[in-house]
Structures are given as C-alpha cells and as structure tokens.
Symmetry: C2
C-alpha cells in the first residue's frame, strides 16, 4: 500500500479522450503538428482566459508555455539566483524547489508555516527584508502540507513582494484540485506591481505524463525567458500543445476534474476518518480541502519516521514519505506526508491502520 506518491490515480486519467484529441490534431494538421513550432497561440489564449477567470489580469503575450512547473522553477532560478545568494522558501516544501534553490547554491531561508493558513506572514516579511533574490511559495493544497493560504494572506504576500522588491514565484500545480471549488484567487491576482511569477501546470489537473505547464510573467521579460528556455531544450512539443488545447477546446476538462476531484475528496475523507480513528490524541494532522496530501505530526517528538519507514515497508508493506525529507532545515523526524489520491478508500483505511502499528507498536 503506497501512501508515498504524489500521483493521481492512473485509472482516473482521460486516456481515451486524449487519444481522440491527438488523432484529431494529426488528421487536421498532418506533419505540421510534428514540426518545430513557436508557442501555440490558441493554448496561450486559453490559459490567459483561464487565469483571467481566476482573477489574474493577463494577456496571451504574458503566458509562456513550459514542460511543467519544474521547468518554470528552473528557468526562474537561473534568471534570478547566483550561487551564494539568499532565496526564500516555505520551511517544508516540494523537493523540486530545493533542487532549484539549494541546488543552485542559494542560501535558503525557510519560513515557518502554520498548519491552517500556510506561510507565516511576519516571518515572511522578516525573510524578505534580507533581500533574497527569489521567494517560492506553493499557495494551494501545498506539497507536502496540504495547506491552503487564505485570500487575505495572499493579498498581503503580493504586497510584501512589491514592498521588498523580491521576485515571488507562485508554484501552483494543485489549485484545480479543489473538493469544493473554493480555491482562493492566485497571489498573482493581487499583484499590482508585477513582482509575482505564476507557475501553472497540466500535470495534476490533466495528466503528468504530458509534461505541459505555463508561466505568467511580465511581457517585458519574454525575450529573456525565450532565450533561456531555448538554451534548456528549445521548445515544448508542438503536438502536445495542440493535443491538450484540443482537449480543452472540446470542453473535456470540467468533467474530468469533476470525476477526479470527487474521487480525491472521497479518498481524503477516508484518510481523515482513519486518522481520527487511529491517531486521535497521538498526532495532529492537516485537513486539506483539495490536492493530494495530508501532513501528520506525531505528538511524541521521539518518533522517527525515517527509521519507521524501513519497518513499514518490510513488516506491513505500507509506504509513506518521512516529513523531514521536505524540511529545508532537516529535523522534524516525527512528521509524515501521506498521499490519498493514488489508492481506493478501503486501501487507505487499511494503510493508516498499519501505519499506527508501525509508529506506535
């Protein structure tokens, strides 16, 4: 039983519909869809509309197509960070953020995070005062915490980035994975001064194996972004851009998201119920309203999730990720990231029961 991944359930990915979209594109455009091509304008326009519907005032010219958010992070870290310079991230963050900050030689300042409202605003301000070259925040259904920053805080975060002149990278792959449709507007929606760089992705909302995402950035930077991107890998697949646009243009995204989020909501509820049953009084955990992850912190700080993992796999055949793996300062060995999207509710319940035997056996 794997509660370790960060994957959607493969059985919920729209394979048949996507196959029809690829076929339609290749039939209509022929070899031209397999050629070197500039960014696909209808896709940029679709993304601009989508972002405007979420409250972000942007034009298609500001939409820059990527191979997913890791590429966006990598491009921006090359644009902003030189080795030895400070960068800001959440105290617990996706390992790929570490690869473009620590991995780029930055001195990383980790900002403490509240389990209900996300990044601590006064700690963030303190960190931004140190003139970091870049800050990365995952605002919705955060990886690894599952926490969502409320709208009022987002507005303040945008204002802080502007006040301290720090490029703020909003890494937002999970926002479409809302159980109740109540994801707050992006931080970018409150960005009047242009310090927020928004990263969106089709990986979680459509399919990871397509490798497609976007950045919303000031148009003034677009030639620098294109040059930098070309040096990475020239461009994003013309066929993928067209096929995904076909999927979107056929209106297939809303029903896909409805199916996916209904399943994820059920699985998340199963996990929260099982935690309630087995860990009440022994741990605290986050209560996500979307996304893929629940975060658990054991009340007993001597519990070592790293040590428990080997036993869990061998003795109980259940896997998870020790939360310390996401900590920018190390430690926190008594925390755990649990994924609820990849397996069915009964399996989740069984997995959590086994987890208790391992952690508190």
């Amino acid at each position: 039983i794997s509660l370790a991944g960060g994957l959607p359930d493969s059985r919920l990915l729209p394979a048949d519909e996507y196959a029809e979209c690829v076929a339609a594109v290749l039939k209509r455009e022929g070899g031209a869809a397999l050629q070197y091509r500039p960014m696909y304008e209808p896709l940029r326009a679709w993304v601009a509309d989508y972002m405007r519907a979420r409250g972000v005032d942007c034009t298609p010219e500001q939409v820059f197509i990527t191979n997913g958010n890791q590429q966006g992070l990598s491009i921006l870290s090359r644009l902003f960070i030189e080795p030895g310079q400070p960068a800001v991230t959440e105290a617990f963050t996706f390992t790929g953020v570490g690869q473009v900050t620590v991995g780029r030689g930055a001195q990383v300042i980790g900002v403490p995070v509240d389990y209900e409202t996300g990044v601590d605003l006064s700690a963030l301000e303190e960190a931004l005062r140190q003139k970091p070259r870049m800050a990365v925040i995952i605002p919705s259904y955060q990886n690894p915490l599952g926490v969502t920053i409320p709208a009022a805080h987002r507005q303040q975060i945008a204002a802080l980035a502007a006040r301290y002149h720090v490029p703020l990278v909003e890494d937002d792959p999970y926002s479409a994975l809302s159980f109740d449709g109540q994801t707050p507007p992006p931080i970018k929606a409150y960005d009047e001064a242009g310090w927020v760089f928004y990263l969106g992705s089709f990986s979680k909302m459509l399919a990871p194996g397509l490798r497609l995402g976007w950045m919303v950035a000031p148009s003034a930077l677009s030639s620098r972004l294109i040059t930098l991107r070309e040096s990475f890998d020239l461009e994003t697949s013309a066929l993928t851009q067209r096929s995904v646009f076909e999927f979107l243009d056929r209106g297939l995204l809303p029903p896909h998201l409805a199916r996916l989020n209904a399943a994820n909501a059920e699985r998340c509820a199963a996990m929260l119920g099982a935690l309630e049953e087995h860990f009440t009084g022994l741990a605290t955990w986050t209560r996500p309203t979307g996304g893929l992850f629940v975060w658990m912190e054991m009340n007993d700080p001597s519990v070592d999730a790293f040590a428990a993992l080997d036993r869990a796999i061998e003795q109980e055949r259940v896997a998870f990720v020790p939360g310390g793996a996401f900590s920018v300062t190390g430690g926190h060995q008594h925390t755990i990231r649990l994924n609820f999207s990849a397996v069915e509710p009964d399996t989740i319940r069984e997995g959590v029961a086994r987890l208790k035997r391992i952690l508190l056996g």
Copy 2:
C-alpha cells in the same frame, strides 16, 4: 522561398503512422501512459541496439532519455562548465551550442574546420592541450557546414579526448540523414576510455515536434545525470517515449527514412546543380552526402551576407542565414548557410538564381 530553416519538410513527417502509434499505446496502457514514469526501458533497449549496430558498445543502462539534443547539451554543460572556464567547439557551429558554452560563461576556443573533412585535428589537439572543461563536435552533416568527419579522423578525435582527459560531447542529430547509407561510425564507437558523451535525437530522423532524444554516457554518471535532469523538468513524457517506441517497434523508421532521405538527396542535388550553374568561379561550397545544409563561401571577401539578407527578403523574397551567425569569432560575413530540405527542387533552383542576383547584382 526560404533556404533559411533547419527543418525537415512537414509533408514528409509520418503524421498518420504516428497517430496510430499513440492510439495503440493509449488503448493498451490506458492512463498509465499518461502518468509520471521512469525512463521507458524498451526505448532504452532499442536505442542501445541501434547504437550497437552503429559500432557503439553500450548497454540500455548507459542510455539516458532526453527531450532532444539541446537538453543533452544543456545538462552536460552544467555538469562540466563553470563560468570563466575554457570550452572547445568547432569554429562554425549550431547556435544552440553557443547557448550552452558562451551562454554558460565559458571562454570558447573555436577550432578551424576543413570543408571536406571537418574539424582540423592538429588545431583540435592544440585546443585540448589548454585543458578545456568540455568540447562539442557535430560529426556528421554538420550544422552549418554540411561536412562529415571521416572515420579515421573520428578515431583520432576519440584518442585525443582520452589523451587530454577532456569530456567530448558528440552532438549527432543528423547521422541518420545519409543519402547513401555511408555515415561513418560515431566518434563514440572509438571511445575506449569513456571520454565521449554521445547525443542522439529523434528530431531529424523522425519528427522535431516530439522533443525526444538520448544520451549515451558512462553508467557511473547516471545518478548525477538523473538528479540534474530532474532539476530541469523532472522527466520526458511517458506517452511520447511509448509512442515513439511503438513507431520503432512496428518497423516504421526504415521506410520513413528511405522516403525522407530520397527527397532530401534530390533536393540537395538540385541545390548543388544550381550552385554549379550560378556560382562557378564566384564561390566555393560544401558537397554534403546527407543532412540538411550546404555552406557557401564567396570568393570576394567584401560580399556582406548580413546586408544582402534584407535586400534578398524585400526584393527577391528569398531567405537564407548569413554564415557569420554561426562563427564563434564573428566575421566571415561572406559566407552563407543554405537549407535544402524544406522546399522542392524547382523552388530551390529558383531560390539560388535569385540569390545570385542579390549577392552579385
């Protein structure tokens, strides 16, 4: 009339066959083909077989899947080059090579190139003596020159890399585009000491818009390569890897290459014939036996191809790339790169006739 591109003719790309391959993969594997996945082992095994058939002794474990050769170049330049260090390239080279050498802050040493046998061996040895961090050579149907390095020279190049302990990047996207099937073995085939990093690509042999290529590197480096690659953009599309393998496994590559190369050979012959007709005594040019490009050098060094380009587009509606754009030292404004793969023979003949009016009118 564009003789400027570096593209195959879109009408020659196998759109229908590829559509069938995508459909077959999605039908067989369903959503699993749209998931995050490690490198696709059957594709690595196919590439290893293909490389072995070309004389390179390698295992699937040495094959590292990329999004095309620009990504391979970018990964290797990050592995080997720090700003300010020397790097070696051919004196005329693909602009993407500049992006990962000059663009990485390297001090570039350009090695002179012979129009019949490619990179000059004694100049290369002189350059390698300066302990560059990396050297990049395009061995077959070179971009921009169209020149192919003979087998005996390749063997010596591999030996020089080993003698001077310089990582040699063999950027080889064009080798399958042979008119006569006589492309020499890769430099990597002569690499006994493990200093050659081979980059191969499906962009020119199958379709650019798929963004798929590979690297053959020592297995000892594979964990470093994977970490570095993950920091770029996690991984290559699972669907693309499977669909291209399906195309290969169905035996569709040889007939596609036969069609493509027959058309390209006819177009190249048309271009060489037209150059003979219009430029004899006025210029010298290379005589490619494959690939996409012919290189022309005017006898009169005062001809300025950069200045001529604007006139050519406005007055004669013909485009080309001034050769100086590929020179690592600038200058060479009396040279021109001509592409013969994108348009039909009659159009090529007309284009060359117009070119003469512009350059010598």
